[in-house]
């Protein structure tokens, strides 16, 4: 009986699916967490997130290209990833929040989404002006870390390090939200904006700060993925819908939800790739639709508080 069961389960396949799923899930989480943070606080479904991703990837690849051209030390690539993320995040965070969203708070949520969509299109065009249409390559950090063989499958350490990065990001956000005074102020603003304003919280500053945090996370996701892809025009387009899907599946605005949702989607997608490749591209959206139909508030959304 046990033999029969073991025959059914191909352990190596399961291991491969789990590892691939975990890597892809980490990628999804890193991409989507910034969008979830911004939605949680500002209730803005931010399409420009795709632009932050693209600009992060482009800036990292561009700087990395210059760095390695001058044969500077290899580890510099990792510094560049974080540097690019912070530069892009702070610049676009301030630009979009102060220049655009500030004028739209309190308006119909469709209008806000459409405005960010408009800004996304404009930024796509500007990106093409700055970086052109030729691909950029930034593979050195991936090469530097090398490869490892686990149970007959070759993985590169760089992709595996994305899992670590995802863990670090989620732990830091958890620590920030529940253990620091700023995090608690943020939670107060999320819970009730008006009351916290009345209590003396500078909501404008909290909004700007959150937005810069979300933007930086978006740019970091692009910069961190850049070594594993060729950086091309249009890379931000797919990210927008992927992030939408993860945000919806996990529960709009819930960070633990985004984490579990990403891993779930990652594993299901990996299983689809190995067992049923035709479904690879739509399995994420199928899960998204199913979640919306049966649990529209998301799998792990905190219960909504009824305000009187």
């Amino acid at each position: 009986m046990v033999q029969l069961l073991l025959g059914w389960f191909d352990l190596q396949l399961i291991f491969t699916i789990l590892t691939d799923g975990l890597i892809y899930g980490s990628y999804l989480f890193i991409v989507a967490v910034g969008m979830t943070v911004i939605f949680g606080v500002q209730r803005v479904l931010n399409v420009t997130h795709g632009s932050f991703y693209a600009f992060g990837a482009y800036l990292a690849a561009y700087l990395g290209g210059i760095w390695y051209e001058h044969e500077l030390p290899d580890f510099g690539g990792f510094v560049i990833i974080f540097l690019a993320a912070i530069v892009v995040g702070v610049f676009f965070g301030i630009l979009i929040e102060r220049g655009l969203l500030k004028h739209l708070y309190g308006k119909d949520e469709h209008i806000v989404v459409l405005a960010t969509f408009a800004a996304f299109l404009a930024l796509e065009g500007i990106g093409l002006f700055i970086w052109g249409t030729d691909p950029y390559f930034f593979y050195q950090p991936q090469m530097m870390l090398g490869f490892v063989e686990i149970l007959g499958m070759t993985y590169d350490y760089y992709n595996l390090s994305l899992i670590v990065l995802a863990l670090i990001i989620s732990l830091s956000i958890w620590y920030f939200l529940s253990r620091t005074i700023w995090g608690r102020l943020l939670q107060a603003v999320i819970f009730d904006r008006e009351v916290s304003q009345a209590m003396g919280v500078n909501v404008t500053a909290v909004f700007l700060g959150t937005f810069i945090l979300g933007t930086t996370l978006g740019a970091l996701s692009g910069a961190a993925i850049a070594p594993t892809i060729s950086v091309l025009p249009g890379i931000g387009v797919e990210v927008v819908v992927l992030a939408f899907a993860v945000v919806v599946i996990g529960g709009m605005g819930s960070i633990p939800g985004a984490l579990i949702g990403s891993v779930l989607v990652g594993v299901v997608r990996a299983a689809a790739i190995h067992e049923f490749p035709q479904a690879e591209m739509f399995v994420i959206y199928a899960i998204m639709a199913i979640v919306l139909v049966f649990r529209p508030e998301g799998l792990f959304a905190p219960p909504a508080v009824r305000k009187i």
Binding site: G125, V237, F282, A286, A289
Partner: protein, 316 residues
């Protein structure tokens, strides 16, 4: 209500366009055809938007119907009337089925659920070899009730055919919006509970809207497939296509059933000239225009036209 100004105006415009069709340059006629297709989808969005619902996934019906035309081609069907009506009806049927799920949702959930459905279609189309994967399928030049024109005559006939279709669509939507069911539109947007107390089912009203909207998007997709002679998942079913439709709807405004077509013409003309100066310019212009419209002209081109003519808004 004996003389409906909109219907009179649209009739005159359609007759004029039908005459002009024989004299205009080919590229202008092509822009006209594309505008008819995009305008039909935007008209579908208008029907929904008047209740306060925005779909981010209308490429679902547009792409479904366009692929319907291509696949009917493979079965040997060539007649434009059959192709367009069957494909659009299939889209309407799809909308009817999905409507049972979608009608329960409002606001951003409605938008996201419709988007998810359209991305599922994209994933299926892009990964199925029979549907040409990411390359898509070719569409043969259609025949019109046995008449099989070639070259320029084919385009001229298709233009007339397109005009006939959109004339029918505009009349149909105008009559619907004037009916009791159509009048519920604003009522549902303003206060759903009150509508329920009046004895109407809000979900039923929205379901019918969704079917009409899907049907209109289906007509748009079918016209597009015939006008371009090709269907592919990237431009027919991806979320960016849905975004463009919403863009046209916002550009046009919801003031009148003719507005989506005026918006679509503006959209296609800008696109035509922007592409001549490079693809990067196009996205920049589109983004900039959309931002400007949202910020400064929230009621779209139609409201500007109204102000130019000197008419004030009727019921707000």
């Amino acid at each position: 209500m004996s003389a409906d100004k909109t219907i009179i105006g649209v009739t005159i415009a359609v007759v004029l366009l039908a005459c002009a069709n024989f004299f205009i340059a080919d590229w202008i006629r092509q822009i006209g055809l594309l505008s008819m297709a995009i305008g039909s989808v935007a008209l579908g969005l208008l029907v929904l938007w008047r209740t306060g619902l925005i779909s981010f996934g209308h490429a679902l019906f547009y792409g479904f119907s366009a692929y319907g035309v291509a696949l009917l081609n493979y079965l040997g069907v060539r007649d434009a009337f059959v192709l367009v009506i069957v494909s659009a009806a299939a889209s309407g049927l799809l909308a009817w089925g999905l409507g049972f799920l979608v009608r329960r949702y409002r606001a951003i959930f409605f938008a996201l659920l419709t988007m998810a459905f359209s991305m599922i279609l994209y994933g299926v189309l892009a990964k199925t070899e029979r549907f040409g994967s990411t390359d898509g399928l070719n569409v043969h030049p259609p025949t019109f009730l046995g008449y099989a024109p070639v070259d320029q005559a084919a385009q001229i006939t298709l233009f007339l055919f397109g005009l006939l279709v959109i004339y029918g669509l505009i009349l149909g939507v105008q009559i619907y919006l004037r009916s009791v069911l159509g009048q519920m539109t604003t009522a549902v947007r303003e206060n759903e509970i009150r509508v329920e107390y009046l004895g109407y089912s809000v979900e039923h009203v929205i379901h019918i809207k969704y079917v009409i909207s899907g049907l209109l998007a289906g007509f748009g997709g079918a016209i597009m497939a015939l006008a371009v002679g090709q269907v592919d998942p990237e431009s027919m079913a991806y979320w960016t296509a849905s975004g463009e439709f919403v863009f046209v709807a916002i550009l046009a405004g919801t003031g009148n059933v003719a507005a989506p077509f005026i918006g679509a013409v503006a959209f296609e003309v800008i696109r035509h000239f922007a592409w001549e100066h490079g693809a990067n310019l196009w996205q920049l212009i589109m983004g900039g225009t959309l931002l400007a419209i949202i910020m400064f002209v929230p009621d779209g081109i139609w409201s500007v036209l109204q102000r130019l003519v000197g008419k004030k808004d009727g019921v707000k």
